[in-house]
């Protein structure tokens, strides 16, 4: 049958085309999902200021939120340094070094669609600093304020400019601000307006509780669903402001798995694709079964922090240097820790901008160590008894007991008689603040608490400055060295980033030359994952960027 009418023919052809198109097999693109087993026993807090230390920042901070400044996590080779985040540039006031101006990134919106601007920055500073602000939340103060101890207030200059004030001149501020995550004021306000409560404080608490279940930041990941203590599901923020960091994976599921064997089993059985800190004794099997292992030097130090109170044997620099020279760190790494550490020769290793050029080289040299001890008056028949307080476990403590027993044996060869005082982790952590003179030190000459070395205050100042002695901060051993104090002041008051880094390097070199600690190891943040996971860059950082990660389904 020939259809002569052109219109009818065209209509029929269109109909046939539509019909055949409908009959084509649909190309269904499967959702890509990455499932991660965390070491945390619970999902870190989701309301903008995570708990559970830097694991919290890694999973519920840097994923859903941004800060004014950020870490460059793009390289596995170079140390992570601070880069612009929600602020594109910043400078300190030439006349008043306590005032900083931050230019904000234009065109950024929160996940709820509200704009990110100067009001949002002021609101977020006040959530942890201004006690009479409606959004003030005491539970977020502890994990924030101590990481930016000098920040005093924030003031809007215009929509895209904000002024931050510090209590004293402090060039570390831009580094510390990586810890202040920007939550959406508009979203919180909506919860506050709906909240029930006897007073404004109760309403505020209810608003934060609601916000934690339905969070809104500006980060590359958005909250999809949250089951307390079971899982947090994040989906990619396709309209993230940094197009280069829009996640490649559709969904990321975070699962708390505090037990190392359980995490490893979950990975081996295919229940998760990625685990943090797999069980060390399972590494050979993981490798043999084709799982990928990632590890890199972290800004983390596993030390003995010496007591420098009167009468302490560590007051003799020869003894401090001898201890540092008597430990075979390579042996510790290859034997006990199955390669999962980097030998420490200071707080920062070569290549780091704050390393400097110490003249005292921390390495394994037993003969030199023995010589120093003999010069100090000790020998095979006159051993020096030192007591160290440690714990059997704890966050970041790696393998404290076996590692300390290793040190005990190693130092015995250099005429040390090491006694260990093993106490519960939280108690050790509390005692850390009380100092070597406190009865809680139980007569110990050293304490073994690991520390993060992400920023100058955490890495150096709190231990080396005399004013940081207990009860102020963590100068547990009451170090009182005028040179350190002078260098701390210089670093803090040097506002050119390159010059500040140089001053910090000078401080670090001085601390190594003084053998301020027994530097033993840096953790390497081991993680294992399925061969399906690709694009992983493990930087020299506690953090990791999930945006470039892909997974084959």
């Amino acid at each position: 049958m020939l259809i002569k009418n052109k219109k009818t023919r065209a209509a029929l052809i269109a109909l046939l085309a539509l019909g055949s198109a409908a009959a084509w097999p649909r190309v269904v693109v499967a959702e890509t999902v990455l499932r991660i087993g965390m070491t945390a026993a619970d999902i870190p807090r989701t309301l903008g200021q995570p708990d559970q230390g830097f694991e919290g920042n890694r999973f519920t901070g840097l994923t859903m939120y941004d800060a004014l400044t950020s870490w460059d996590l793009s390289s596995a080779d170079k140390p992570s340094v601070v880069i612009p985040g929600l602020a594109t540039e910043w400078k300190v006031d030439d006349a008043d070094k306590t005032k900083w101006t931050f230019k904000l990134r234009p065109g950024v919106t929160f996940h709820d669609g509200s704009p990110f601007n100067a009001d949002a920055v002021v609101w977020n500073v006040e959530k942890v600093l201004k006690q009479d602000a409606p959004q003030f939340d005491a539970s977020q103060v502890g994990v924030t304020a101590s990481r930016m101890p000098t920040l005093a207030s924030a003031r809007k200059i215009d929509d895209m400019t904000v002024e931050l004030t510090t209590k004293e001149p402090d060039s570390f501020l831009p580094i510390n601000l990586t810890n202040l995550f920007m939550a959406s004021p508009a979203k919180w306000q909506a919860f506050y307006d709906k909240a029930e409560g006897a007073d404004a404080k109760a309403k505020s608490q209810a608003a934060w509780t609601a916000f934690a279940k339905d969070a809104s930041g500006t980060g590359p990941w958005k909250m999809a669903s949250f089951t307390p203590r079971e899982r947090l599901e994040l989906v990619k923020n396709a309209s993230y402001w940094d197009k280069a960091r829009v996640p490649k994976i559709d969904k990321m599921v975070l699962l708390p798995m505090p037990e190392a064997n359980a995490r490893t089993a979950a990975l081996l059985s295919g229940q998760v694709d990625w685990v943090e800190a797999p069980a060390p004794d399972a590494l050979p099997e993981l490798k043999q079964r084709g799982f990928k292992l990632y590890a890199n030097e972290q800004p983390h130090v596993w030390p003995w922090q010496f007591s420098r109170v009167e009468g302490s044997p560590w007051n003799d620099i020869r003894v401090r240097k001898a201890a540092n020279l008597c430990v075979d760190r390579e042996g510790l790494k290859d034997g006990l820790l199955a390669g999962l550490m980097v030998p420490a020769s200071g707080t920062f290793e070569p290549g780091h901008p704050w390393r400097g050029k110490p003249s005292f080289e921390i390495k394994y040299d037993k003969a030199a160590a023995q010589k120093l001890m003999q010069e100090a008056g000790y020998g095979p028949n006159k051993k020096l008894t030192v007591k160290t307080q440690t714990s059997a476990s704890g966050s970041g403590q790696m393998q404290p007991l076996p590692m300390n027993e290793y040190l005990q044996q190693a130092l015995a060869e250099c005429y040390f008689d090491v006694k260990l005082d093993v106490i519960e982790w939280n108690t050790l952590f509390t005692n850390w603040r009380r100092g070597a003179k406190d009865p809680s030190a139980n007569g110990s000459h050293a304490t073994n608490v690991t520390y993060a070395a992400m920023d100058p205050f955490f890495a150096l100042v709190r231990f080396l400055q005399s004013g940081m002695a207990p009860p102020v901060s963590n100068n547990w051993g009451f170090i009182n060295n005028p040179k350190f104090d002078e260098l701390v002041k210089k670093a803090r008051q040097t506002f050119d980033p390159a010059a500040r880094d140089a001053a910090l390097a000078e401080l670090h070199a001085a601390s190594v030359d003084d053998a301020a600690f027994l530097y033993v190891a840096h953790d390497v943040g081991p993680r294992a994952m399925s061969p399906k996971v690709t694009g992983v860059v493990q930087p020299k950082s506690w953090f990791i960027d999930f945006s470039p990660v892909s997974i084959a389904q």
Binding site: A41, D51, P149, A212, L255, P258, A265, Q271, E424, F429
Partner: protein, 317 residues
Amino acid sequence: MLAYTARRIVYVVPIVISVALVCFLLVHITPGDPLVAVLPADASQELAAQLRAAYGFDRPLPVQFGLWLLRALHGDLGNSIATGRPVLAEVMRAVGNTVTLAIAAAIIGFTMGILLGLIAGYFRETWVDKVATSFAIAGVSVPHYWLGMLLVIIFSVQLNWLPAVGAGPSGSNSWAWDWAHLKYLVLPAITTSVIPMGIVTRTVRALTGDILSQDFVEALRAKGLRETGVFRHVIKNAAPTALAVMGLQLGYMLGGSILIETVFSWPGSGFLLNSAIFQRDLPLLQGTILILALFFVFLNLLVDIAQAAIDPRIKRG
């Protein structure tokens, strides 16, 4: 009976107050700072004092206890220091998961225990008895967590039949009795069931053997009753004691197991206790212990009243 019940309830009051006091003091007398979860060691004194006041830890202990008890009586156990979430909701959710696990473990453990016990008792001193008794001994002797890991290695890692950890599939926010959820329950339930299985087996075996050796059984047989009929009498006589043992075991299981729940990342009360201890989350720790302790107290009260209702001779003063 009413007077007895009222008396028993009155007796519970000082027990509850004592339990609350012990829960409160236990976590306060241990060394360390209760704010360690939220207060970094670098915090200034001012900040520490501010937070201590915000959480009420700056007040004298008796005042803290009084306020805590008063709030607890109104169903407010405070908020978790670590998460800010209400403790009561956290504990009830965890208890719900533990109850699910306990029910599944009880079904497996009691069924297996009764069957093995009856078989062992009936075929006493034979190889059948020896095999069944070996199971029972293994059940009470094998460390829980070791068995859990072994099951995970076999059924999750090697065979890939069952999930190794968790309490439900991705996207599921509550428990459901379907295979998607049940498969998460199998391994922890089997692990939890082995001790009750062993204890019930041994109890039922002893009861069965004892009853079978009594004169009335001979009389029943002499009267021409078939073995199935005799067995029915045995079960009837063994039931009260066996049920009491099973009740006790169920109570223990409902308390949750830190080890098993941690090995399987099962979000029950044991897992919650582990988190609370690890994070030194004082309100959560107190709340969890209190609720679990009260659970035992009230379970005992119910058992006492039920026993008295069934058999008035056992009413106690």
